[in-house]
């Protein structure tokens, strides 16, 4: 029972490679090495905690807000978050998410996510033509 909280997916799907790349096999170049243990169990004790950190913070804040100001407050805020999340550039360009950051209050703080693995400095980029065609439904 305790293991349930340690597993990464609550419903492990067998026979399907979760790290599948373009040909249905493990994409070692982009996703790294694979092993069954790594798919099911976290490879670092903090992996799950860090992956869900922002979500848990938001949940806690919304709960507090609901208790203090009533149900309307978190509902309004969540609506604004959804609207801000939709402001994006073209599909292959990274977005600064300025509106979302301002709403969250993280526009005046720096964390590891701003220094390491900055999406602006990623070496990978999707093919612009293909991605816009896919988004417009022309492909």
């Amino acid at each position: 029972m305790f293991l349930k909280y340690c597993l990464k997916d609550s419903v492990p799907v067998t026979g399907l490679c979760p790290q599948a790349g373009s040909y249905g096999v493990q994409d070692s170049l982009r996703r790294g090495f694979s092993s069954v243990k790594n798919e099911l169990l976290p490879s670092h004790p903090l992996e799950l905690s860090e992956k869900n950190f922002q979500l848990n913070q938001d949940k806690m804040n919304f709960n507090t807000l609901r208790n203090i100001q009533g149900l309307h407050a978190p509902l309004k805020l969540q609506m604004e978050y959804r609207a801000a999340r939709q402001i994006q550039r073209l599909p292959f360009l990274p977005s600064s998410n300025l509106a979302l950051d301002t709403l969250r209050g993280s526009d005046d703080s720096i964390g590891f996510e701003d220094i390491l693995n900055d999406p602006v400095q990623s070496e990978l980029m999707g093919d612009p033509h293909i991605m816009t065609e896919y988004k417009l439904g022309v492909l």
């Binding site: 694979s34 703080s109 390491l116 999406p119 990623s122």
Partner: protein, 276 residues
């Protein structure tokens, strides 16, 4: 650790590095290699509150296992104009943590329009260290003077903090604490406080293998910071008294035989470089 993976692998770098590191750690011992040790600052750091402010002290040795990696590293980090922080533990962790908190505190103080308080820095540090559950190996001594007077905090890697008039951290903390417990008294003068911190760090340097070299001091008062690096060179490297080089003519030449090699040019071809 995350900081070690400043990799160039693109999107899923965090996941890739977790998997790769886990796989390597599991198999590397079977092949007979050992993974590289993180550079630690086996250290003596301490701080004391005196009449007008705070005195922070640190040694300057950084060790990598049993080898001294840096004979003169700087362990007193800048947080804000009125707040400085000494760091013990993994060198990269203390460096990055203090830099991130310094940036956050600068943004915060620009937003409030006031000089930052030491307790703000303390809370930011403890919340970050607790979030990473002790995996960030940074033990810090945070000191500064703000609108409420001088403050001194010690922050442990798991996120607990203590607010005290005198603190020591690092592998030499027991030696330094012995000196403090003997000679500390409240509301000291500046010279006496500097002497006390210097003696505490010296106790750590001479009695602990992980600490050594020089003593750095940082005196923070209202409106003024004295960063004394080095305050005291407790361990000077010796000077060689003589030269061990052999003088010219030491080895006598008995006979000399010269054999010229007659080479004739057979073929000569010129290949120009493609400098277009």
């Amino acid at each position: 650790t995350e900081e070690q993976c400043w990799g160039t692998w693109g999107k899923n770098i965090k996941c890739v590095c977790f998997y790769r590191n886990a796989l390597l750690e599991a198999d590397i011992n079977k092949l007979g290699f050992s993974s590289p040790a993180a550079r630690k600052t086996g250290t003596t750091i301490c701080g004391v509150v005196y009449k007008d402010g705070v005195v922070l002290g640190a040694d300057t040795r950084a060790t990598e296992g049993m080898v001294v990696a840096d004979k003169n590293c700087s362990k007193i980090h800048y947080i804000s104009p009125n707040i400085y922080c000494c760091g013990a533990g993994t060198a990269a962790d203390t460096e990055m943590t203090t830099q991130i908190i310094s940036s956050n505190l600068e943004l915060h103080s620009l937003s409030t329009g006031r000089l930052p308080r030491v307790t703000t820095a303390n809370r930011m540090l403890k919340q970050m260290l607790f979030r990473y559950q002790g995996y960030i190996g940074a033990a810090l001594v945070l000191g500064g003077v703000d609108c409420n007077g001088p403050h001194l905090y010690s922050i442990y890697p798991h996120g607990s903090t203590d607010k005290l008039p005198y603190v020591t951290m690092g592998s030499g903390s027991l030696a330094a604490m012995a000196v403090f417990e003997d000679r500390y008294r409240p509301n000291m003068e500046e010279e006496e406080a500097k002497r006390l911190v210097r003696d505490a760090i010296a106790a750590g340097i001479f009695n602990d293998l992980g600490s050594g070299s020089n003593i750095d001091l940082c005196v923070i008062t209202k409106g003024k910071v004295d960063y004394l690096r080095p305050h005291d060179m407790a361990n000077k490297k010796g000077v060689r008294t003589g030269s061990y080089r052999y003088k010219h003519g030491t080895t006598g030449v008995l006979t000399k035989a010269v054999t010229p090699l007659n080479l004739e040019v057979v073929e000569e071809s010129v290949q120009t470089m493609d400098t277009s």
